[in-house]
């Protein structure tokens, strides 16, 4: 098998088009994961013990099952279940499967962000008589969110790289297009190389961006005074 530029020229536009599907799917999955993750975090804050155990069990179950199995289940097994089974289109299955799978990790990130806000912050907010709602919007979230943005970014990249799994339910992402082209033309080298190239071309700059964000967030508000007792006035 030899590298053939004419194949590259032929297959590149096809994969380029499919890239939009992959990107769209990534965004849809990640948005789902962020929203469902927030719901898990809120549910976990309910202090009723049996309920808390139940949620923990569900989360552990979802997290411990391979996403591939979950996709297969949602697409092939669920429609067969009497009464509750429905047939879903591939895109929806992909979004539900990967979105919910990753929501369990995102939920942990949210939790760590919230728990990272020192108890004294809440006590000061109480002493200043902020309402419960204001405590969240003005004190907790503004401090909890910036530090977790890089972590969310990391998960976005991890999830992006898991998107090819959705090939098993037939979403026409980059890998699917490459596979179809390969099977039809007996040319595998170029299509798969191009797919790998696309993933690299998007993941690597993103991870650089995240590293930069991480540094920026770490510097935010937590910079110690240069000299003891001599603060610097921010402008």
């Amino acid at each position: 098998m030899r590298w053939d530029w004419s194949t590259v020229i032929e297959v590149f536009p096809l994969i380029f088009d499919a890239m939009w599907t992959t990107l769209g799917l990534t965004i849809a999955c990640f948005s789902t994961a962020m929203i469902v993750g927030a719901i898990w975090t809120a549910l976990k804050r309910i202090k009723f013990k049996p309920f808390n155990w139940f949620i923990s069990f569900v989360l552990e179950f979802i997290r411990s099952t391979p996403p591939l199995v979950q996709l297969y289940f949602l697409f092939f097994a669920w429609p067969m279940i009497p009464y509750i089974g429905v047939t879903l289109d591939p895109f929806t299955v992909a979004v539900m499967g990967l979105g919910v799978h990753f929501s369990t990790y995102i939920s942990e990130i949210y939790r760590s962000g919230i728990e990272g806000v020192p108890k004294g912050q809440l006590e000061a907010a109480t002493a200043l008589n902020f309402s419960t709602r204001q405590k969240w919007t003005k004190i907790i979230l503004p401090q909890a969110i910036p530090p977790i943005i890089p972590m969310l970014g990391n998960y976005l990249i991890i999830m992006f790289k898991e998107i090819p799994l959705t090939i098993v339910v037939g979403v026409a992402g980059m890998l699917t297009v490459a596979e179809v082209y390969g099977v039809n033309n007996f040319e595998y080298l170029e299509p798969y190389t191009i797919v790998a190239f696309f993933f690299l071309a998007m993941s690597y700059p993103s991870s650089l961006l995240i590293q930069w964000l991480e540094k920026k967030m770490n510097r935010r508000f937590v910079n110690k005074p240069d000299k003891k007792g001599k603060g610097v006035t921010a402008t």
């Binding site: 002493a127 204001q134 508000f221 937590v222």
Partner: protein, 258 residues
């Protein structure tokens, strides 16, 4: 006779079955300054945290201006207060913490205007004027746009005091507000508290190990010992003529301070 601003009536507090406050009875008049002293673990912090609603009494009543803090009256019976009731009563109380607890994501000015604007509904301009005036008074008029992390401990604590004072509470609580500071910045914070105390109208309860400061500032000193008020009285009486052996021993440790 004016009614006391704060009343503790037979207040008990236990943490996991360990009783740390064993029947506290204490009254604070409007504008009165009280120093709360006592050995470590005697319950000083717990007493004022209950008044700030950060800790719930196990039994007994705490009243602010005659209104029960942790209870509300429904059909002539006292029932457990909800957050709404707590919020109403808590508005009269302010607190300064040992570790400042400034909001790190807000500038110094915003730290001092956020609660007046959002909690009390003060007009933004008015709130800023008041905050600037107060920050100038504590000597930080030139740090309005700085963030807490850019200030020294002493400066941060002065901001925390200003942040509380602009809310115009009827009573301010201070929990060992200088014990986390470098020795060289303790003085500037005590000075600020002295200035505020001199203005008079606000009552204060100060938990402190600075005996000289306690004597200067207080109308009354309360000595707490294993969850009970063991002795209280005028500063000079308490410090120069202690009755109990425990207080004598306790004070001996601070002799060098005055």
């Amino acid at each position: 006779m004016t009614q006391p601003l704060i009343q503790y009536e037979d207040v008990h507090k236990s943490f996991d079955d360990v009783e740390v406050l064993k029947g506290i009875n204490l009254e604070v008049d409007p504008g009165e300054k009280i120093s709360l002293i006592g050995p470590s673990g005697s319950g000083k912090t717990t007493i004022i945290r209950m008044l700030m609603t950060l800790e719930k009494p196990t039994s007994g009543l705490i009243k602010v201006d005659g209104t029960p803090l942790w209870h509300k009256e429904v059909n002539g019976k006292l029932v457990e207060a909800d957050e709404k009731h707590l919020r109403k009563v808590r508005g009269d109380i302010g607190m300064v913490f040992q570790h400042f607890n400034l909001f790190p994501h807000m500038t110094i000015l915003k730290n001092c205007t956020s609660a007046p604007i959002n909690v009390q509904g003060v007009d933004k301009k008015v709130a800023e004027e008041r905050a600037v005036e107060m920050l100038e008074k504590v000597g930080l008029g030139n740090k309005l746009d700085a963030y807490p992390a850019q200030l020294s401990g002493g400066q941060q604590q002065r901001v925390a005091i200003a942040r509380s004072v602009v809310m115009r509470p009827k009573v301010m609580l201070f929990d060992e507000v200088t014990s986390a500071l470098d020795p060289e910045t303790v003085g500037e914070v005590l000075e600020v508290i002295r200035d505020i105390a001199k203005e008079g109208e606000m009552a204060m309860i100060l938990v402190t190990h600075e005996m000289e400061f306690a004597r200067d500032i207080a109308d009354r000193i309360v000595f707490l010992e294993s969850g009970k008020i063991a002795e209280e009285g005028k500063p000079l009486d308490i410090l120069e003529n202690p009755n109990s052996e425990r207080l004598k021993t306790f004070l001996q440790r601070f002799r060098s301070n005055f």
